[in-house]
Amino acid sequence: MNITLKYFSWIRVKLKKSHDLIEFNQTISFKELKNNLISKDAIYQEIFEDKSVKFFLNLKEIDDENQILNNGDILAFLPPVTGG
């Protein structure tokens, strides 16, 4: 299954990319994805440890780390917003 990651603001700048398409052989939870990303690149450690970063799955904020991700899902990484 495929999951799209979207990065914004300092996360996009730090990762030097605006998105990723990642593949998994089986369904995983948000928590498992998180650990998977951290194990691949230490930058993710910083991102996930930053309490001000919010994660939106298909335009809805994730409030449970055990939430299961499905094929085609879009997970966005959002630092505190500064519009207006």
């Binding site: 335009l59 966005a76 500064t82």
Partner: protein, 153 residues
């Protein structure tokens, strides 16, 4: 009416979009690019506005809905620019229209206060040599939003 756009907007045109003679009062908030200083006291030459458009539209709709639910409004318009903006350029416009001014004024303030902390836009300061600096969220904006907690359903 909600719009996220690369292009500037005209106040008279937008007023016409919400005009009706059932309205007696319009409150506008207009945000523009201020000649600001960077964190290291350097003068900025403009800003860049990043946006997660699909999400921002959902979030703006939600804020607009709250405004329409909590105040007696006939209209509520929100326009937000994205991309590169020069000093003095328009960034954001909120117009609320009502029969009476108290509703229009309060709802307009609510919309911009909520937009500042809950919609997926990010500002960058721009400098002469194509340098960018991320603008950080202000505590003030989070604190200002607290005043609406007991007012909004």
């Amino acid at each position: 009416m909600i719009k996220i756009t690369n292009e500037s907007f005209d106040l008279e045109t937008e007023l016409k979009n919400v005009s009706s003679d059932t309205n007696g009062a319009y409150s506008f908030f207009l945000g523009t690019v201020r000649s600001d200083l960077s964190s290291s006291n350097k003068k900025i030459k403009g800003i860049y506005l990043e946006c997660y458009e699909e999400l921002a539209l959902v979030q703006l709709k939600k804020i607009r809905g709250k405004a329409l639910n909590n105040w007696k409004l006939n209209q509520c318009l929100i326009i937000h620019r994205i991309g590169k903006l020069d000093l003095g350029e328009k960034i954001v416009l909120v117009i609320t229209a009502s029969s009476h001014r108290a509703d229009a004024i309060e709802a307009c303030e609510f919309v911009i206060d909520n937009l500042k902390i809950d919609v997926a836009f990010w500002k960058f300061h721009l400098f002469d040599n194509d340098e960018k600096e991320i603008v950080l969220q202000k505590n003030f904006d989070n604190e200002k939003m607290l005043k609406w907690k007991d007012i909004i359903n």
